[in-house]
């Protein structure tokens, strides 16, 4: 009997634990989307991405921007297409960064929720969704937020890539870094596909500008526990500049480690990292000579100011570039729907989107130039170099059209 009662005690404790965490967490999750108002019809906008698992933060970052865009459009009364008012509702599904779950979610969003547009923020999910987004039964526009040039390269007719390909960045970065520090570059790219492609692009840009590469040390930023041995090895090749291909905080630790081991040169960050997050783990003085994406909040254009203020008001924190991506993508999509006169036909919507560009007013944080025939949007983005412990002047990294 004693044994039996013990079992129940442990059962109770376990149930208690689950319930506790459950309840304590439930308060945090806010409901997304809005109900329809008045005579407006609701168009579902699909989203699939990581909301749990290791990449959950990245997923939530992009989703926040999308939700904000939709809320803004809805509170302005929605859009008018052929005399009918429409509002939007975001249906977000978690795919844990797994392509098969992205595919399942895509099917669900397309058939159950009749979403004409589905957002995705990773290449694997994009490839899985590209297998069926053009099926005649339930076509949908795949809106990808990824700077991976691969996602636009497969000739899928209904793919819209709402971020610049990163291939535009290495060249201006190389020029800036070489001018200030010298011609020797060591690379510590991430082992992810994205990181490796970045490393290759960086290498060719650097050598095209007349520099030499002292060594490439690919690192798994997600599983490596101690970056010191990589830094030691990279520094042993005596570089002037080090390229880092990881997410923000690991990059920050690598920079800190390099400074502690006596490195005086510059750093180039890939666009997976945002400087403002890097600065959370390493001091601005240590960051002197670091080149990367200009933090969104440091730009002074009216569009940026408006976006940053609105985002801070809504989420109570300063937005990064990742927060803005799906925001302006959604703005373009809404305008494209109005122009195309359809909220259901993805091909028409994409054509409409092409027609509403360029957008240069303050409704979006960046200047949106055009969408090319691969569905890739060309945006006016900026890089910067940190010097004297401050962010420097922005320089343009807009790709050649």
């Amino acid at each position: 009997m004693l044994r039996k009662s013990k079992r129940y005690v442990s059962l109770l404790i376990m149930v208690f634990l689950v319930v506790t965490v459950f309840v304590s967490g439930c308060g945090q999750s806010a409901a997304t989307g809005q109900g329809s108002s008045g005579t407006a019809k609701v168009v579902n906008i699909g989203w699939t991405g990581p909301l749990s698992g290791g990449a959950a933060q990245f997923g939530k970052d992009t989703l926040d921007g999308l939700n904000m865009a939709v809320d803004e459009i809805n509170s302005a009364g929605g859009i008018t297409v052929n005399g009918q008012k429409y509002t939007f509702k975001v249906v977000a599904l978690d795919d844990q960064y797994k392509p098969d779950m992205s595919a399942t979610n895509g099917r669900r969003l397309a058939t159950q929720d009749k979403a004409p547009v589905i957002f995705v923020n990773h290449a694997g999910g994009t490839y899985a969704l590209q297998q069926f987004n053009t099926d005649s039964s339930n076509p949908f526009l795949l809106a990808v937020h990824s700077s991976d040039p691969g996602v636009a390269a497969h000739g899928n007719k209904l793919t819209f890539v709402g971020a610049d390909p990163f291939t535009a960045q290495p060249d201006p970065y190389s020029k800036q870094a070489m001018q200030k520090f010298g011609k020797k570059l060591a690379l510590i790219p991430a082992v992810t596909p994205y990181g490796q492609d970045w490393g290759k692009a960086m290498t060719s840009a650097w050598t095209n500008n007349g520099g030499t590469v002292t060594g490439t040390f690919p690192m798994d930023y997600n599983t490596e526990t101690d970056y010191a041995s990589y830094v030691t090895k990279a520094l042993s090749t005596n570089p002037d500049v080090i390229f880092l291909g990881g997410p923000s905080q690991p990059d920050g630790l690598v920079i800190k480690e390099a400074r502690q081991q006596g490195f005086k040169g510059g750093f180039i960050l890939c666009d997976q990292a945002s400087m403002e997050d890097v600065a959370k783990v390493v001091s601005m003085t240590d960051l002197n000579g670091t080149i990367g994406f200009m933090p969104l909040s440091q730009l002074s254009s009216p569009g940026v100011k408006k976006f940053v203020a609105a985002f801070e008001a809504k989420y109570n924190r300063v937005p990064t570039f990742h927060n803005s991506g799906m925001y302006y993508d959604m703005k373009v999509i809404a305008k494209g729907m109005e122009k195309a006169g359809s909220v259901t036909d993805p091909a028409k919507i994409l054509t409409g989107m092409k027609q509403v560009l360029p957008i240069t007013d303050d409704s979006v944080p960046y200047q949106l130039n055009s969408i090319n025939d691969k569905g890739q949007m060309i945006i006016g983005l900026y890089g910067t170099m940190i010097s004297n412990g401050k962010y420097g002047q922005p320089f343009s990294i807009t790709p050649q059209q």
Binding site: S10, T104, R107, G195, Q196
Partner: protein, 338 residues
């Protein structure tokens, strides 16, 4: 164990009904989302049948299963993409290759026992995963392989539509269930179970324990590899993640929820957990929070899973009560093996 007794007729009727339901399911027009979910669950179920054979019937907890799944998927993808083999050749070939790999793994890993075996196989799984990640020249590295061809048409039957793919996967699943059913109800299946219960007694009865373990592992790997190759042809994009230990843990959860050492367990568990995962979408992180304790609770209170529970309830009638008791595997721990 199943033998000729009167309970059989009822269960056959039930299984027939389930089978008919599975066949008419797409005709009910549930929408491509549900067909997708069920198809994927079927694919995973095939892999879980593999784990069921090796862990459920044989008592050897192999954590290399996702590695084998990934191996099968990459093998099938490479055979169709690089060698332009037809789906109908690539799938059996990939499955056989997986079994061959498992043969060599088994040769070494079954020298270890108990926890060492579990950790050893986990390491094998990790190594397969790491090799897939690092060997970009063949596997595409972290990029994975994109654009794996759809199943080749079989004469006039094409597999372009989702429904056609569903039936294709269903046929493979039925084949798996059939083979497993035949196997575990044969003398060979009894031999496996005898090894689970006591390796010593099995050896004393003249059973070559090592040979049987390797046999079960290879058969399990064959089906796991087959599941992997079906996955490749169905999702048409594969990345290193499909060989990560996390997927093995998911297989394990499916198996335990359904009930190990039963023929219905893997499919029941996989469908149930896939359904739960989908229907709990709104819970996001909480869903993962539930699965851990669920695993512990199952191990503690429902060691034979849902199917075991149903058997237990069904046998609450006075004369069958004892049979249910005998389903409790904690009674079989007299042996030295796992």
């Amino acid at each position: 164990m199943l033998s000729k007794n009167q309970k059989f007729k009822w269960s056959w009727l039930f299984y027939l009904a389930v089978l008919i339901l599975a066949f008419i399911f797409p005709a009910l027009n549930p929408g491509s989302y549900y067909i997708q979910v069920v198809s994927l669950a079927f694919i995973y179920a095939i892999a879980v049948y593999g784990l069921n054979l090796i862990e459920g019937y044989m008592g050897q907890l192999s954590l290399a299963q996702a590695g084998l799944f990934g191996f099968g998927a990459y093998a099938a993808a490479l055979l169709t993409m690089k060698l332009q083999l037809s789906f109908w050749l690539a799938v059996p070939l990939a499955s056989v290759l997986t079994a061959v790999v498992a043969f060599f793994i088994g040769l070494i890993s079954f020298r270890t026992r108990g926890h060492y075996f579990v950790i050893f196989t986990l390491c094998i799984g990790v190594i397969i995963n790491l090799v897939i990640q690092k060997w970009d020249a063949v596997t595409g590295g972290m990029n994975g392989l994109i654009g794996i061809p759809k199943p080749t048409p079989l004469g006039p039957i094409s597999f372009d539509s989702l429904k056609a793919q569903y039936y294709l996967i269903l046929v493979f699943l039925l084949l798996t269930v059939f083979v497993m059913y035949r196997l575990v109800n044969s003398l060979i299946g009894r031999t496996f179970v005898s090894i689970r219960n006591s390796e010593e007694l099995a050896a004393a009865l003249g059973i070559n324990v090592m040979k049987n373990k390797i046999l079960a592992f290879c058969v399990a790997a064959f089906f796991t590899g087959m599941a992997g190759s079906l996955y490749a042809a169905f999702i048409r994009f594969i990345g290193p993640d499909i060989s990560s230990p996390t997927l093995t843990f998911e297989f394990l959860l499916y198996l335990l929820a359904g009930g190990q050492a039963s023929i219905a367990g893997p499919i029941v568990g996989t469908l149930l957990m896939s359904g739960l995962t989908e229907s709990l979408q709104f819970l996001r992180d909480y869903r993962l929070l539930l699965f851990g304790p669920l695993l512990i609770l199952i191990v503690k209170f429902l060691p034979m899973g849902i199917v075991g529970l149903i058997h237990k309830l069904a046998s609450r009638s006075p004369f069958r009560r004892s049979a249910a008791k005998s389903l409790n595997p904690s009674k079989t721990v007299k042996g030295e093996g796992l």
